[in-house]
Symmetry: C2
Subunit: 167 residues, 2 copies
DNA sequence: CTGACTGCAAACCCTTTGCAGACCG
DNA sequence: CGGTCTGCAAAGGGTTTGCAGTCAG
């Protein structure tokens, strides 16, 4: 997962923007940029941290947070999820949609010309301005399904008061 | 924001399901049920807590959390957002879509027959099973727009390293 | 060289859990 | 009355911040 035209162009964009904004290109930032630019998943800070740690063992989680928000402030990545708690960062700024696993949180992009042009009811504009629109598909990913099959019972609505925690 | 046919029917459903599951209908639970059933927003635990506190000043935030997850475990509410951190609960189980304000987090439902039947690319199934599909529209709500107008500069990509935190 | 940046550690949420007393059924 | 449920308080996990030393430019 090192290079590809798209990833390289993202990386170049990050560096150019950082330079333009007058922020320093430290080793830590360069590695974090690379990691974010090359990730297909939408990693949270912890994931980026673990990945960067391999090449830069002394990097700290704080720096990863600071750098991710730096990219966000520069408009180079978008965020998924709610405003607080475990935010995930999305390096893909093109129109696209998301598949999310409700078990493990895996998130993948997909595109669809048909969905890109969907019409939003006029009534929505009474809520406020519309900036972005995307489809979110939820389900259980292949990996989790395999684990369920391996383990005991597989799925669905509980009735007692156990087994929660999987949004 | 007290009664309406739909809200009353939800409330009745919650009570019936709770009774069927053999859980006790305490004052706290009844108030929390009512609050969740009647909210148009998709409240997080804190919001439900504040609302319930008005009628039941001694209620604790823990109980709100426990009761919300109880409703979730009974299949009576869905959750929005990622699996950890500030989860929001959605009392509307019908197919619908969401408008979310990126400033304040306001979330509103909307429906659209057209969007309900959108076709998801086959490729998505390679990620895993598909359980739900909905559209998420993001923007800035009327209230926040008004505040911005009242204050100084209104919107968009920052360039320094300030002004973050608004996913 | 010098200001910006990093790592460390402590501070801060929000959420969950353990426990003893209170209440529903 | 008995088991469930609540409120309290403390623990837990993720994120942010203050500070002094370090490094890019």
């Amino acid at each position: 997962m090192t290079d590809s035209p798209e990833i390289l162009s993202r990386l170049a964009r990050y560096q150019a923007a950082a330079k333009a904004a007058g922020v320093k290109l430290t080793h830590q930032r360069l590695e974090i940029f690379r990691e974010v630019a090359s990730s297909l998943e939408h990693p949270d800070a912890e994931s980026v941290f673990r990945a960067v740690q391999i090449r830069l063992p002394t990097v700290s989680l704080d720096t990863v947070y600071r750098t991710l928000w730096l990219l966000h402030d520069l408009g180079l990545v978008a965020t998924l999820g709610p405003r607080r708690g475990s935010v995930r960062f999305d390096a893909n700024l093109e129109p696209h949609h998301h598949y999310v696993c409700t078990r493990c949180g895996l998130a993948r992009d997909f595109t669809s010309a048909e969905l890109d042009v969907m019409r939003i009811p006029d009534a929505v504009q009474t809520f406020g301005s519309i900036v972005t629109t995307h489809v979110e598909v939820r389900g259980v990913c292949g990996g989790c399904a395999a684990k369920s099959a391996a383990a005991g019972q597989p799925d669905l609505p509980p009735s007692g008061q156990e087994a929660r925690r999987e949004t």
